[in-house]
Symmetry: C2
DNA sequence: CTCAAAAATGAGTCCGAAATCATAGCATAA
DNA sequence: TTATGCTATGATTTCGGACTCATTTTTGAG
């Protein structure tokens, strides 16, 4: 599985938030989507730090879209939600320090790098507007 | 992470086996590749059931390629090794019984199905001969 | 025919990441 | 100033990947 529930919640949240003209709070969102409040809050915070959402504090505060949905790459959403880039294999993340180095040059990394690149390109080119 | 270590071991094993003219046992392979023996054995058994490898029991037995590497899709290797199809999300596996159905129609499944299809196509079209 | 090599099977452990729960402060618009 | 909601942090639970062990079954070799 490439994506965890965090990405799923992020996408569902963004779809709800973009359809609202008012800021939506974490608690309200959690209730509507039937998602654990605290867990969702973390994800929303990450999305805000990434500049995808804008958080408004205080009374009647909440979250609002910070960018146009045409300007948000799906990959940036995933990276914010997961806290790291989506990887095909674990080893592709640290190819310079491949654990398989011990048994000789890694036979599969050229393929994996290619595969990883294709997925990265796909997710980078895919905008939020393409999927909602 | 899309692929677990099982797929990695499967690819490394196939690369070793195809270069040998004699059957290679699970234990020998485990030693050469520095992989836990029993864990590797399970993977090899799965590959044999899938018709990718041929298993020969008894003395001087072991595993041999059952097909030409041009006829083996990488996706079939992954399915054998992982025991299931590689999925972007968990929910794409059982779209007919989506847990998010409880909160209305799933907003992200159209995208996920598209994404999943692209990955499936890529892995189906990719032959073992392309990467070794 | 017997025996040993090697595959096949199945149950069970260990560990770390994912997911969830909890909560005490901090910031701000009304 | 006060209600509202964000921030930060950490404990807890859950779950699946990674691995081990013990046993059975098969079959070629002597």
């Amino acid at each position: 599985m490439l994506l965890t529930r965090a990405s799923e919640y992020a996408l569902l949240s963004l779809d709800t938030i973009r359809q609202s003209d008012k800021p939506i709070g974490a608690e309200q969102l959690a209730n509507e989507l039937n998602i654990p409040k605290s867990f969702l809050a973390k994800i929303l915070q990450s999305l805000a730090k990434e500049g995808i959402l804008e958080s408004r504090k205080g009374a009647h505060g909440g979250f609002v879209m910070a960018k146009d949905i045409h300007e948000i790459a799906v990959r940036s959403i995933i990276m914010a939600a997961e806290g790291k880039a989506p990887a095909v294999f674990d080893c592709t993340s640290y190819m310079h320090n491949c654990p398989n180095g011990a048994i000789g040059s890694c036979a599969i990394s050229p393929f994996l790098a290619n595969f990883q690149t294709r997925i990265d390109d796909f997710l980078n080119g895919l905008m939020l507007s393409d999927i909602l």
